[in-house]
Amino acid sequence: MTRLTAWFSEGRSTGKHTLPFVVILLSVTILASAANLFLPADSIFYVSTYTITLLGKYLCYAMLALAVDIIWGYCGILSLGHGAFFALGGYAMGMYLMRQIGDRGVYGNPLLPDFMVFLDWKELPWFWLGMDQFWFAMLMAVLVPGLLAFVFGWLAFRSRVTGVYLSIMTQALTYALLLAFFRNEMGFGGNNGLTDFKEILGFNLQADSTRVALFLITAILLAVIFVISQKILSSRLGKVVLAIRDSESRSRFIGYRTDRYKVWLFVYSAVIAGIAGALYVPQVGIINPGEFSPINSIEMVIWVAVGGRGTLIGAVIGALLVNYAKTRFTAIMPDAWLFALGAMFVLVTLYLPKGLMGLYGQLKAKRNAVMNKESQA
């Protein structure tokens, strides 16, 4: 513990964006929430619940982008399967919320969720047991993605599956899960997934106050995770991770067990994704296998690419920007949206390999280099 505190208090070069980011994030969320709760609906500054839930969703995506960025931007592992971890976290939360419905389901069965009743299942499958305990469900929300990531990473990184192969394998992983969760026999509600949630920890999910609370919690967790990640990545471990990204074999030759570093970072990232998923579900009110589809996972990557991989702040900005754009576009001209998205992929990869943040970073780096050259001469 003392070590931890020491570690946090330590004056290492944490990213200089961190403080402003946290401040802005929290102040905005708090203002928005207040505006939603205390202002009359007809005032100009009133923030509708619709906007609140929308923002909440964006923040979950931002958290997810953070997870992808940590693994891709910093360690060079392009995972096309992060949607899987997100969805697993989501399902854990979904199962809890499902159990909370209790006998208020349409069939009024105190134990079984509705979809089990009409598939006339007699008793609860074993993996649903304990899910009525919030703490247990939340434990699962981080444990299951973490475990999956660990097993997969352990196998993959030890046998040195790298680069493109790994990306394709992760994609296969999420695809397999997609197919699996579509099956009704799996006991996760098949294509319809889990929905019609009533309350969380006894608070009515439909109530504005609950929504605002969820929104706030998401924001706070995002800030916390941001700071921790920033800390980790600016520690020596962060440097090792960068070293692995730039030249894995070299890092091995100076004595780092790169596979272990990768596994643990992968797990950490997966856990974040899981948390994001768990926060996402109560705010959008449904979780279904669609979340596993490979397309989603690839889209997450593009958020990061746009914002700028290798910078946490970039990931967050990317996620917010792209999703805002999406909401706007799909409303104005639905057909054009896919064109826009596609073009974004191509242009960003061609002209902004390091995204928006990278643009700024590149320029600065150049200037430094030039100055150094001069100082040499």
């Binding site: 680069g163 493109v164 296969a172 992983l173 397999a176 197919l179 099956r183 896919l338 596609g342």
Partner: protein, 538 residues
């Protein structure tokens, strides 16, 4: 109660009129025309008795009429109370007398209305045709006629068969008839047991479903001897049937494998040889499929030949698109495979949406040429569908051609040179840019050809590519990147594996299991089935 619409009312009156006309003509020799008139005006459910009458009064000459009716091409001219056939060649429809075949130009769509038929009628018509055909000239026709009738052996049919059997010259027809008669004998409880058992033994050599069903009923016969005989016969049949069933499943596996091969072989070049992750590969396939559609639009009357036009066309379209993509995007991302992956994914989105906007999100109708539809009946339990046979052959052909191109031609040489050591090749004066473009074009073009083949199996829509991209990647990675043979083996392995899993696990689980297997396999052998060795691979 059913509501009476104008149409029904008319129909009703006409029936009455029909009956009336019948009675008037009763005195004369029963001629067809009034019956036909009646037929033309009857409602579907009232048609069968009329057809019975027609069959009764007519001989082989009626066949064309029945056939036209069966194909739903028989029309009725209200004004003249006559039936007429509608025919269609080269896109334009015209009407001609079904018996005399003389073209009747005076008639146009509005003056006629279609005599519709439903399943029951079609069933009846087929049997009627068969009954009439028993006395046909051509042996094969007679044989089919007999086999057609096996399922409905009523006394009259049996009688006819018995009458015809002695005079039958053709061996196969005689065999078929013998079978029919044997079935009859076997089922006759009042006959002597010995005859029945003998009959059963003859039956045991046949694979016909009707025979099997008959025997299964016989196993419930009250005569013990018959029962045992029937059981033995069934056993014998079952053994043979199982062998064929296995062959059948193997074929399914191979055919799925050929589809996977076609889908992934283009990728094996772009990904395997060039190391480019082309997420738009699926869309290349899609473009090929849509090319087929467009070709068919342009030559609606020559569907049978359309494929031969479509294949080169698809190759060109997808190939050119591939070259375009390579020049515009991929060549700028050299040595950045992950970025390539993202960029090409963007391209795939754009292409999909493009197709959506041009051809609408609806699936497009691609009709299969007549020579590709239907199946090759080896025997009653084993029949291989033609289109899949052709596609299997086609896949192998494409593969061989590709191998030859890569091994023998100068392009192939350059491609291999570049893939092994780009800089050295450059130094040797190989135009690497050109080679890259060509290679990518080749890969995409082959994907286009795959699209042509797939358009015969599945629906041609914007999502066509999406459904194959992951499988293709699996195949290539599993087979070992940069190794065409590996791709071949992998494709067929996965195809057969899936098909043999399916019966036990069901389609979904089979797919999942195969995926998981590949994931684990790659952990064990990161370089696939046939890895590239040596320092080059580092």
């Amino acid at each position: 109660m059913r509501r009476i619409t104008l149409r029904h009312f008319i129909a009703l009156c006409c029936c009455l009129f029909g009956l009336f006309s019948l009675s008037t003509h009763a005195t004369e020799s029963a001629s067809l025309d009034p019956l036909l008139a009646e037929l033309g005006e009857a409602k579907i459910k009232d048609m069968e008795p009329i057809l019975v009458k027609i069959e009764a009064v007519s001989d082989e000459t009626i066949l064309p009429l029945l056939r036209t009716l069966l194909n739903g091409n028989l029309y009725y001219i209200k004004a003249e109370k006559k039936v007429i056939g509608q025919f269609e060649t080269n896109g334009e429809t015209f009407y001609k007398d079904v018996f005399t075949n003389e073209i009747n130009t005076g008639i146009d769509k509005p003056d006629v209305d279609k005599i519709r038929v439903n399943n029951n009628l079609r069933g009846y018509l087929r049997n009627a045709i068969a009954r009439i055909q028993l006395t046909s000239k051509s042996p094969s026709v007679r044989e089919n006629a007999v086999r057609e009738l096996l399922s409905k052996l009523d006394d009259s049919t049996v009688a006819t068969l018995e009458r015809l059997y002695p005079y039958e010259s053709n061996k196969k027809v005689k065999e078929a008839m013998g079978l029919a008669l044997a079935m009859n004998t076997a089922s006759q409880t009042e006959l002597a047991v010995s005859n029945r058992i003998a009959a059963i033994e003859t039956l045991s050599s046949s694979l016909e479903n009707d025979v099997r069903n008959l025997l299964t009923t016989l196993t419930r016969d009250d005569n013990a001897a018959v029962v045992t005989a029937a059981n033995i016969a069934l056993e014998k049949i079952a053994q043979r049937a199982n062998r064929f069933a296995f062959v059948d499943q193997l074929f399914f596996g191979l055919s799925l494998g050929s589809v996977l091969l076609l889908a992934s072989i283009g990728l094996a070049i772009t990904f395997g040889v060039m190391g480019v992750i082309n997420m738009a590969h699926g869309e290349m396939i899609m473009l090929g499929a849509y090319t087929t559609y467009v070709v068919q639009l342009m030559m609606p009357n020559y569907i049978d030949y359309s494929i031969w036009v479509a294949i080169p066309a698809a190759f060109l379209v997808s190939g050119l698109m591939g070259v375009l993509i390579e020049r515009l995007v991929i060549c700028r991302l050299h040595g950045r495979p992950l970025e390539t992956l993202l960029a090409t994914f963007g391209i795939s989105l754009i292409l999909q949406q493009l197709v959506r906007t041009i051809f609408s999100p609806l699936n497009r109708q691609v009709s299969s040429p007549s020579w590709m539809s239907g199946s090759w009946e080896i025997n009653p339990v084993l029949s291989l569908t033609l289109n899949r046979l052709y596609i299997l052959a086609f896949a192998l052909l494409v593969f061989i051609v590709l191998v030859i191109v890569l091994k023998k031609t100068s392009l192939g040489l350059n491609v291999r040179a570049v893939s092994q050591n780009r800089n050295m090749a450059k130094a040797m004066g190989v135009k690497t840019n050109w080679v890259d473009a060509m290679t990518f074009g080749l890969g995409s073009g082959i994907a286009g050809i795959a699209g042509v083949a797939l358009s015969q199996l599945t629906n041609v829509g914007p999502n066509l590519g999406q459904s194959y991209i992951i499988d293709s990647f699996m195949v290539v990675v599993f087979g070992g990147v940069g190794n065409l043979l590996g791709t071949l083996v992998a494709a067929f392995t996965l195809g057969i594996a899936t098909k043999f899993l399916e019966p036990t696990t069901g389609a979904v689980l089979a797919a999942i299991l195969v995926l998981v297997f590949i994931i684990l396999f790659i952990q064990k052998r990161p370089k696939g089935l046939f890895p590239q060795k040596g320092r080059a691979a580092e």
